[in-house]
C-alpha cells in the first residue's frame, strides 16, 4: 500500500478486489468509505474494521452518489483516493444475451465509473491531490467470444480513463487504469460459474487479487498510468495490438472444441 492520504472511497467494496482493497486501506488506518449495493457483503467488509464506513448505493444513481460524497466528505474530510472497482460480469454469446443484461453491464461497469469519477475527480483537482484508480481489464483490450458485453464495457472504461488521464495531466492527481487478466475473485464465478463463460479462458489460471492491488500501488508510485498485473499480461496486450489475428485464431479454436 502506498496511500498517503486519510480518506478513501471504494466502490464494489462488498466482495472481491473492492473488498480486499477496502481492508488493506483500513489496515493502514485510512478511513474507508465502502460503497456497494450488496448490504450483506458490506457488513462482512466492515466486520471488526471500525475504519470502514459502509454505504449502500448504486453507482449508477447519480444524485444518490453525489449526496453520498457530500455527506462522506462532511463527516470524514476530503476523499484522497477513489478505487472504482464496482463491476458485474455476466457472460454469454452476444445474440443470446438479453439486451437488459448488456445494458446493465454497460451501466454499472462503465457509466457507474463515469458517475463516480465525474463526481469526485473535480474535487481532487481543486485540491491538487488524490489517487484515482480505474478498474479496467485485459478484456477491455482483448475481446473474446462469450465475454463481448463485458469487454465492450471495459474497453469504454479504458478509453474514457486514458483520455481523462491526458486531459488532467499536471493536476496533481495520480491516476492508474489497471487491466488485469482473470483474477481469483467471486466475479470469476459470474463469468464462468455455469460453464457459459469464454472457453479460451478455461486454461488460464487466475492471478491473486493481492497481485493486482500491489501492481496498482506500484503504478501510482511510479507514475505509470496503464498497469497490467500478472506474468505475461503485457505480452498478451502487445500480441493483441500487433498480431490480432493470431489471438483470435486461438480464441476461436478454443470455442470450437467439443
Amino acid at each position: 500500500m502506498a496511500f498517503r492520504g486519510k480518506v478513501a472511497l471504494v466502490t464494489g467494496a462488498a466482495s472481491g478486489m473492492g473488498q480486499l482493497a477496502a481492508w488493506r486501506l483500513a489496515a493502514g488506518d485510512a478511513t474507508v468509505v465502502a460503497v456497494d449495493v450488496n448490504e450483506e457483503g458490506l457488513g462482512r467488509t466492515a466486520r471488526r474494521a471500525p475504519n470502514v464506513h459502509t454505504h449502500v448505493c448504486d453507482v449508477c444513481d447519480h444524485a444518490g452518489f453525489e449526496t453520498l460524497v457530500k455527506e462522506a466528505e462532511a463527516e470524514h474530510g476530503p476523499i484522497d483516493r477513489v478505487m472504482n472497482a464496482a463491476a458485474i460480469a455476466p457472460a454469454g454469446l452476444l445474440l443470446e444475451q438479453p439486451f437488459e443484461e448488456i445494458s446493465r453491464l454497460i451501466e454499472i461497469n462503465y457509466l457507474g465509473l463515469v458517475t463516480v469519477t465525474k463526481t469526485i475527480l473535480p474535487l481532487m483537482i481543486e485540491r491538487g491531490r488524490g489517487d484515482l484508480v480505474q478498474f479496467g481489464s485485459l478484456a477491455g483490450w482483448v475481446p473474446s467470444q462469450r465475454l463481448g458485453a463485458y469487454s465492450a464495457a471495459k474497453a469504454a472504461v479504458v478509453s474514457f480513463s486514458e483520455t481523462l488521464y491526458h486531459e488532467t495531466q499536471g493536476s496533481g492527481v495520480r491516476m492508474v487504469c489497471v487491466c488485469p487478466p482473470p483474477v481469483a475473485t467471486p466475479m470469476l464465478d459470474q463469468i464462468d460459474g455455469d460453464g457459459t463463460g469464454p472457453r479460451s479462458l478455461k486454461d488460464v489460471p487466475p492471478i491473486a487479487p493481492e497481485e493486482v492491488l500491489d501492481a496498482i500501488e506500484e503504478g501510482l508510485e511510479s507514475g505509470r498510468f496503464l498497469v497490467f498485473p500478472g506474468k505475461g499480461t503485457t505480452i498478451v496486450w502487445r500480441v493483441r495490438r500487433f498480431l490480432p489475428t493470431v489471438l483470435w485464431r486461438r480464441i476461436d479454436a478454443a470455442e470450437r472444441l467439443p
Binding site: 500500500m1 481492508w23 488493506r24 489496515a27 474494521a49 500491489d214
Partner: protein, 251 residues
C-alpha cells in the same frame, strides 16, 4: 515446566463477539528483518518468561516482523513483532535447535498492533503482548517501510528492501508450522500456527532500522545492540495462516 491441558478448542468471546478457533488469516503480507544481538542482554530482557535464549556462539537471534493483515477473522490491521529465538521449554540446555526442520521456537516479546479488537483478542486468547499504537506499513520503490509511533513518540522505523531471490518453502513447498511462546499477566503460553507463504523473497542484509529517542521499547532494542546490519531479510507479498488455541505452560 509441565503442560496443563491445552485450552479447549472452542469459541472465545471478545467484546461480546464470538471468535472461533482456529483464527484464519486468509490474506496478509509481511516483511521481516532478523538480527544477531547480544545473547546475555537478550536473556536478561526475556528473563521474566522463564525461557532460555537459543544462543549461537553467545549471540541471540532477534526478528522484527511487520505484518499487514488484510482478510482476517480479527479484522484488518498492522502489527510489529519483536521475537527472539528460544529453546523449547522442555528441551535440555544446549540441545541443538533444528532450524531446518521447519519449526523455530520463538518468544514474542512485544507485539504492538494498530486496532483495538485484535489487541483484546490477542491478549485474551493467546496472551500476546499486544497494545495499540500507530503503525504504518508502506510500500514504495521496492521497499517496505514500517513506522511505529507510540504515544506520539517514534519507536522505530524499519525499511526492508525487496529481494529478487525467491525463498522456497520447505516440505510441501508452502506450509510451515511455527511455534511461539508468549507471556501475559504471569502466564506463559505456547501457540502453534500454520503459515502458507507465496512469493517470498529474501537476502542477506537488506534492512535499515532506525530507533527513536527515548521510548522504553526503543531503549530495550538499543540494549540489545540495535540498530545494526541485519543478518537477513524476507518479504512475503501473500501469506495465509491459521492460529490454533494456545497451550498454557506452568513453571
Amino acid at each position: 515446566m509441565t503442560f496443563v491441558d491445552p485450552v479447549v478448542d472452542e469459541p472465545v468471546v471478545v467484546d461480546g463477539e464470538t471468535v472461533t478457533l482456529p483464527v484464519e488469516v486468509r490474506s496478509a503480507k509481511m516483511a521481516v528483518a532478523t538480527f544477531f544481538v547480544d545473547g546475555d542482554a537478550a536473556q536478561e530482557l526475556i528473563g521474566y518468561s522463564g525461557l532460555r535464549i537459543a544462543k549461537q556462539r553467545g549471540r541471540a537471534m532477534c526478528s522484527l516482523s511487520a505484518v499487514q493483515y488484510t482478510d482476517n477473522d480479527l479484522g484488518p490491521y498492522n502489527e510489529i513483532a519483536v521475537a527472539l529465538v528460544v529453546d523449547p521449554h522442555d528441551k535440555a540446555p544446549g540441545a541443538k535447535v533444528s532450524m531446518a526442520g521447519g519449526t523455530v521456537t520463538t518468544f514474542i516479546h512485544k507485539l504492538p498492533v494498530n486496532q483495538e479488537f485484535t489487541c483484546r483478542a490477542g491478549r485474551g486468547i493467546w496472551g500476546f503482548p499486544k497494545w495499540v499504537a500507530n503503525i504504518s506499513y508502506f510500500e514504495s520503490g521496492g521497499r517496505t517501510e514500517v513506522v511505529l509511533v507510540d504515544g506520539g513518540e517514534l519507536v522505530l522505523s524499519l525499511s526492508v528492501k525487496r529481494s529478487p531471490i525467491p525463498i522456497p518453502a520447505r516440505g510441501d513447498r508452502s506450509e510451515m508450522v511455527m511455534s511461539c511462546y508468549s507471556w501475559c499477566d504471569g502466564v506463559l503460553r505456547r501457540t502453534s500456527w500454520v503459515t502458507r507463504n507465496q512469493g517470498t523473497t529474501g537476502r542477506i542484509g537488506g534492512a535499515v532500522l532506525e530507533l527513536g529517542a527515548s521510548h522504553p521499547m526503543t531503549d530495550e532494542l538499543r540494549g540489545l545492540g540495535l540498530p545494526k546490519r541485519a543478518l537477513f531479510t524476507m518479504s512475503t507479498p501473500r501469506m495465509s495462516a491459521s492460529f490454533g488455541p494456545p497451550e498454557i505452560i506452568q513453571v
